[in-house]
């Protein structure tokens, strides 16, 4: 195990309003969580509205190694998974809407059940 030093590295997250998402802001050195809290507040958040703060010891962050970063590659062949692959639907929909809905058409929607 690595030698424990007096100062540890903390990652600081905060949000501006109760309903906004937490954002990573910065990191700082502190001997423990409580000290990290007050340091974060005093040093970096004096001039900005803050609704909440999270402190995470950096050693508790599971990071990716170089090999793991290889798993992030993706192919650009996924139009069918996003709505942009279905851009033509709007036009098709409009066409059907313009067709007259007669009784025969509506009754045919029930179909025959096996």
């Amino acid at each position: 195990m690595a030698k424990e030093t007096f100062y540890q590295e903390y990652e600081i997250f905060s949000k501006r309003t109760p309903n906004s998402a937490f954002q990573h802001q910065f990191s700082l050195l502190a001997p423990n969580e409580d000290m990290a809290f007050v340091m974060a507040q005093e040093n970096f958040m004096r001039r900005e509205p803050v609704a909440d703060i999270w402190i995470v010891n950096r050693k508790h962050v599971r990071k990716m190694d170089t090999e793991e970063k290889m798993t992030l590659g993706r192919l650009e062949n996924k139009d069918y998974r996003t709505t942009k692959g279905y851009g033509y639907l709007k036009k098709k929909w409009r066409q059907y809407e313009q067709e007259i809905l007669d009784e025969k058409e509506i009754l045919s929607w029930g179909g025959e059940r096996k």
Partner: protein, 270 residues
């Protein structure tokens, strides 16, 4: 059509077409079986992650079918949906059902089987894709480089599941070991090129069956070693060879389901 494609000698083209069908049909059936898990995987994140992998794999199948389309084998969608079982070249492993029951009724699928099949299959696919990156057929080598990009994640995903369940409770281990037996019983044709073996290997489209089998075995060894288990061996002779169009009833049933919609209206524009 590029110069390379036009210049292919006749025997070479037959070997190439056969290999492309093997790759395309494998991913197509693997993705189809994976898609049957939608909504049924052990928890919601596993459901989404595995479905996403199935969709990626379907994307890979589409790329291989499009290479066949370029060679004049027919329309890619039709190649995927309309061919009968005896024309298909997927391995038996990829066509096997996920377990008892049917997903539209009462599925009793086996997650251990899904994990082992997916892990062993993806590991085998990685070995093949690595080899295909140096294929003598350039368009295939180019596709392999692309497919490889997404295999890092697929492989890591299934290897993680495999290690976690194998290192879990006695019940989990028991189910996993049973799944390993089932999967290995069907592994005989995974690295087979069927009756095109000689032509495929001589044309240097991909390395030999034997080389790839050895590489697969080497690649899973460390995982089994860490679990203090012996890595399984690939059966020498498959009971049925999917590469030669020999298949089980599972494939017939799957084809009926997966082609149902496209056969309703073959001229529909999607």
């Amino acid at each position: 059509m590029s110069e390379i494609e036009k210049d292919l000698p006749m025997e070479n083209k037959e070997a190439l077409t056969s290999l492309l069908f093997q790759l395309a049909d494998d991913d197509f059936m693997y993705a189809y079986r994976g898609s049957e898990w939608l909504g049924l995987a052990p928890h919601i994140e596993a459901d989404i992650a595995s479905s996403s992998i199935s969709q990626d794999s379907m994307g890979h199948a589409a790329m291989f079918y499009s290479l066949l389309e370029d060679l004049g084998a027919g329309n890619a969608d039709n190649l995927a949906h309309m061919r009968i079982a005896s024309e298909r070249k997927n391995s038996i492993l990829t066509e096997r059902v996920n377990g008892e029951g049917y997903y539209m009724e009462v599925p009793h699928y086996d997650w251990a089987y899904a994990v082992v099949r997916s892990y062993f299959y993806t590991q085998a696919k990685k070995i093949k894709i690595d080899s295909l990156c140096g294929s003598s057929y350039k368009p295939l080598a180019e596709i392999a480089v692309k497919v490889k990009m997404e295999l890092y994640y697929h492989r890591l995903h299934w290897e993680t599941w495999f290690k976690q369940l194998m290192g879990s409770t006695d019940v989990a281990k028991q189910k996993m070991n049973k799944a390993v037996e089932l999967v290995m019983a069907d592994f005989g044709d995974v690295f087979s090129y069927g009756n095109q073996k000689l032509e495929i290997e001589v044309s240097r489209l991909i390395e030999s069956e034997e080389d790839l089998k050895a590489k697969w075995h080497e690649s899973i060894k460390p995982v089994f070693l860490a679990l203090q288990m012996e890595a399984p061996t690939i059966p020498d002779l498959p009971s049925k060879n999917g590469r030669n169009g020999e298949h089980t009833k599972d494939l017939d049933d799957a084809l009926l389901t997966l082609s149902e919609v496209s056969k309703l209206d073959p001229v529909a524009i999607w």
